[in-house]
Symmetry: C2
Subunit: 162 residues, 2 copies
Amino acid sequence: MTEIKQTTIETVVDNLMYLHPLISKSFSKQMRAKTNLNPGSLFIMGVLSVYKTLSMSDIGRKLSMPKPHVTVLIDKLIEEKMVERIADLTDRRIINIHITEKGITQFQTIKQEISEEMRQQLQQLTKEQLTTLATATQQVRELLIISFGKPSGCPDTKNQTS
Amino acid sequence: MTEIKQTTIETVVDNLMYLHPLISKSFSKQMRAKTNLNPGSLFIMGVLSVYKTLSMSDIGRKLSMPKPHVTVLIDKLIEEKMVERIADLTDRRIINIHITEKGITQFQTIKQEISEEMRQQLQQLTKEQLTTLATATQQVRELLIISFGKPSGCPDTKNQTS
DNA sequence: CATAATGGTTACAAATATACAACTATTACA
DNA sequence: TGTAATAGTTGTATATTTGTAACCATTATG
């Protein structure tokens, strides 16, 4: 047996490492099937659907996405009228990205379609298990936001927090 | 307000969609810094560290990874002596991939290094919150395995479950 | 004012992941 | 036996992501 007593943190890491591809798996097909947005754009829509307005750098920080990549994806989202650029009033370097009404609606629709597809899978769970899952995912979400939600620099040459 | 009363499933989808980039973020840097393995290979090591032996197709199914991609990644892992190919005794088409002792040890080490890096972030949580997180991630993991852990075909032309 | 730092863009290379097609070997089955 | 289905490989094209560097505009700071 190679089993060693794990610390709580190691248990968390273990679970998260296992969880990641599992969540990927549950989304990947639907994401590709149900939208013409690529994963990166969808993640941006995800944070924007929560925060409504974020600067380019904020988006990069929240998603650990290099700034040049954010620029490219936002360009596409603007073409699709999902988001819009808004100049910052106090700091003229900053460009705020604001989710449009169309963006909100479309993203809502996408989520509902994905939910519909996942219903089949998730209905293998009992009502109690499903409630537990909703609660547990909510807890994980909130606690990870505390731990990893804060700005910590996005991986880009000129933007290191060194 | 665009808020609409969500079903339990929609809440789960909402949380999972938000969780995915957050988990990505918490791992990405460490994964790239601490190992010479790419993310895909690391995910394969993850499932193999649990199941010890899986066929090529099993791996593809569990990770929703196209079979040709699995082949490439396994080739690299074999070069590194992390896994080995073992011919199946009952069905000579099947090639079983077995994690080696070195693979188990190395993966354990990688996880501990990642844990060490994450400790700093996770220590912003109280002891109670950390325990909650461990429990919640465990629950999510187990319930998602029930829902999405089953074979459902990996995205490859010749392997559709149609 | 001079200089450093920040926010953002552009361009390009490299790594990684996905999709598709063709192919061999083996097994399942009518 | 003949045919279809499965498991896996190989190759190639494409999509996506990451990494670097250079660059401009603006702000912060000495």
